[in-house]
Amino acid sequence: MAEVVADTVGSIGPAEVAEVELYHATSWLTKYVFCQDAKVIAIQYSVTAMAIGLVALVLSWLMRLQLAFPGTFSLIQSENYYQFITMHGMIMVIYLLTALFLGGFGNYLIPLMLGARDMAFPYVNMLSYWVYLLAVLVLVASFFAPGGPTGAGWTLYPPQAILSGTPGHEWGIILMLASLILFIIGFTMGGLNYVVTVLQCRTRGMTLMRMPLTVWGIFTATVMALLAFPALFVGCVMMLLDRLLGTSFFMPSIVQLGQQLSYSGGSPILFQHLFWFFGHPEVYIVALPAFGIVSDLISTHARKNIFGYRMMVWAIVGIGALSFVVWAHHMYISGMDPYFGFFFATTTLIIAVPTAIKVYNWVLTLWRGNIHLTVPMLFALGFIVTFVNGGLTGLFLGNVVVDVPLSATLFVVAHFHMVMGVAPIFVVFGGIYHWYPKVTGRMLDETLGKIHFWVTFLGAYAIFFPMHYLGLLGVPRRYYELGATAFIPPSAASLNVFITVAALIVGAAQLVFLFNLIWSLSKGRAPGGNPWGATTLEWQTPQTPPGHGNWGKELPVVYRWAYDYSVPGTERDFVPQNQPASAPTA
């Protein structure tokens, strides 16, 4: 291949590596089931994640019903309530958000956005999905195991997680730990793939600083996940040994209900350190892909380049690095050396600076834009509002002394739902509305999309904003019922009813979305290959949906960054990344 000369970048060298022949499916089974095409794997990941996410959604309805109308439903006993909150939390954080952002969006977008034919290791990529599916099935199996799923809280703190005072201590906790171990194995296969693909499989001209922020977000999150998940992995293995073989990694000598147990010498706080060494980066493993995707949504639908691209990239990388030195802000009242508080409060609040820069740059991208209020744009706006809200309440909880009264109250629940529940899921929705026409060749219905947006946005805000004030009042989290508690006025119960009604309505709106996903598959408008007028490579494929191998005979060559929107002097308001600088704009 000849050297391509482009005046904006100097020259683009010829390809150094010959093309690798992909494994082409020969049967229905290898094309749709045991498929090595990252795009099919992405859909498998997404469908599985959303299916298990629906289970978690229903669990949230059940727990909200209990909080609003305590004791009304005989199906929701105390042990069930704890099982519901535990499974809801774990499913949403790990099996839905992590799997959907990395396994779903990552698989679909990384090769396409970088101009690659597929992931670097398609076979391992396929295995990654099947191990993930196995992890989900093991998790689901715990619902049917004797004693039910674990009710230890999603943080699974020992000793209670494996002792008899906690629901699901018989089988539930074993299956939970086994499922997490499987998930991490599956993720590692996928994660190594994403990293190698980003580093090694970019097409000619796609320098790192020309990658769309979506790829930057997913890439950084994957690197973080590869470093953070091992801490959870060893934590799970050790707890499993404590539970099954009677070792005492996390178990000190314990007298439970008058009985001396045979454990001795272990350290429960060690598990908390391991858990949060994973758990805090996990927040950003979910948030960074959302940051990246939302940047691209805002830029595309405001027809304007993302403001401060380089600062955005460094903010992503900086947040990723800093997030490894803040974990103990989840443990301010755990009894660890209180002097740690000075360090972790400082690092935690420093992280606010790069995060704030990202917010400013999103808003400044809107400034003097040409804002198309499409459904993806609406969800992006909803993301900014909820993310700013949840990020700011993080400044309460990160500031060690303020955390002391607020920790373990509903303030924390409201905070993390706003910042890592609602905000990232808005990006998931925005991303699905945005890329659905590429994945399926059809548009999602806009009216249904707007209904979905309005109910979800206003409803979710109505759920979680007032909840902070219950936490300020002092209402603790993980209470099956408040009972008669002197400092909690009856009005708090009315607010709980209001929140539950809002939660049921928001939940119902997700069924509209589900219907839209299925209905539009056959009935949606077919808009062509690039309906939004986007610059990134996935919109420039020869076919829509893209075929196996993504591109035609030749891989695309990249001549510019991903954000040439509304460039002065060009005819159209976008210039695709693979359009040479010298070529006349069509």
Partner: protein
């Protein structure tokens, strides 16, 4: 257009809700009013930022919405603006962190001469231990726990003989006296939580945790567990009675010591 209105409503509505809603911190009953002050500062700073960002978004969405023939500006970067915003943010963060760390340094430094008591948690009840005339708490170990010695006080430690042991009853404290709290759990993680005191701390099995406070008004305050401890977590309750020194001494005289409890068990 509706989205611009909605954004304005979210910003204004949130501020209105904050000002008008009836749910707020419980009236404080300890010396940690500095914590409440830090919360107030944080609310002011974050509230201003939230309102400003959302209103600015509303303006952008209204002013720069797509109309026929409009075109976006082309401005990849503005280093000056970006640095300014970063610096202003840094100042805002410092304005919250500095008082926070200042108060934390008090939190980790108990005053000299503070009295002390111990909280012991088990599924699902609170117990307490106070030093006796010798003024010292005896050593403990989970392995000493028996029905007669529910808190696991070391029977061979002379300092433990006169310790006052309170199982399944209210804790009393004198008002206005700083007190160090030692916390211990015999089974799982619990958390000693009295909302009016603001300070709370986990009881971490296998170790002894600590904090301090000064009760500042008399009354009966409910103890909740704020560390999820299994199925009975919400029912794990107790009371702290804060009273005048003379009432406290009268109560203390009536309590049994570890030695008395051991003797009566024999």
């Amino acid at each position: 257009m509706p989205i611009a209105i909605a954004l304005v409503l979210v910003a204004v509505g949130s501020v209105a809700f904050h000002l008008l809603n009836p749910w707020w911190l419980t009236p404080i009953a300890s010396n940690w009013h500095y914590i409440d002050a830090t919360i107030a500062i944080t609310f002011w700073i974050t509230g201003v930022v939230f309102t400003a960002v959302v209103l600015f978004m509303a303006y952008c969405v209204f002013r720069f919405r797509h109309r026929e023939g409009t075109q976006a500006a082309y401005q990849p970067e503005n280093k000056r603006l970006e640095w300014w915003l970063a610096i202003v943010t840094g100042v805002g963060v410092a304005a919250m962190l500095t008082p926070g760390l200042f108060v934390w340094s008090q939190f980790v430094t108990p005053p000299k001469g503070a009295s002390e008591f111990e909280v012991v948690g088990q599924q699902w009840m609170w117990s307490f231990r106070l030093p006796g005339k010798s003024g010292r708490l005896g050593t403990t170990d989970t392995k000493y726990i028996t029905p007669e010695n529910p808190l696991g006080v070391n029977p061979n430690d002379p300092n433990g003989r006169d310790n006052v042991v309170i199982v399944g009853d209210d804790l009393h404290l004198p008002v206005g006296k700083p007190v160090r709290v030692w916390l211990r759990s015999v089974d799982v993680v619990h958390d000693f939580y009295v909302p009016e005191f603001r300070a709370k701390m986990d009881l971490m099995p296998g170790m002894v945790t600590r904090f301090w406070f000064t009760p500042t008004r008399t009354g009966t305050f409910e103890i909740l567990c704020a560390g999820f401890c299994g199925i009975g977590h919400p029912q794990m309750r107790g009371n702290v009675v804060v009273e005048t020194e003379s009432d406290y001494q009268a109560w203390l005289q009536k309590q049994q010591t570890f030695a008395q409890l051991s003797a009566s068990a024999k």
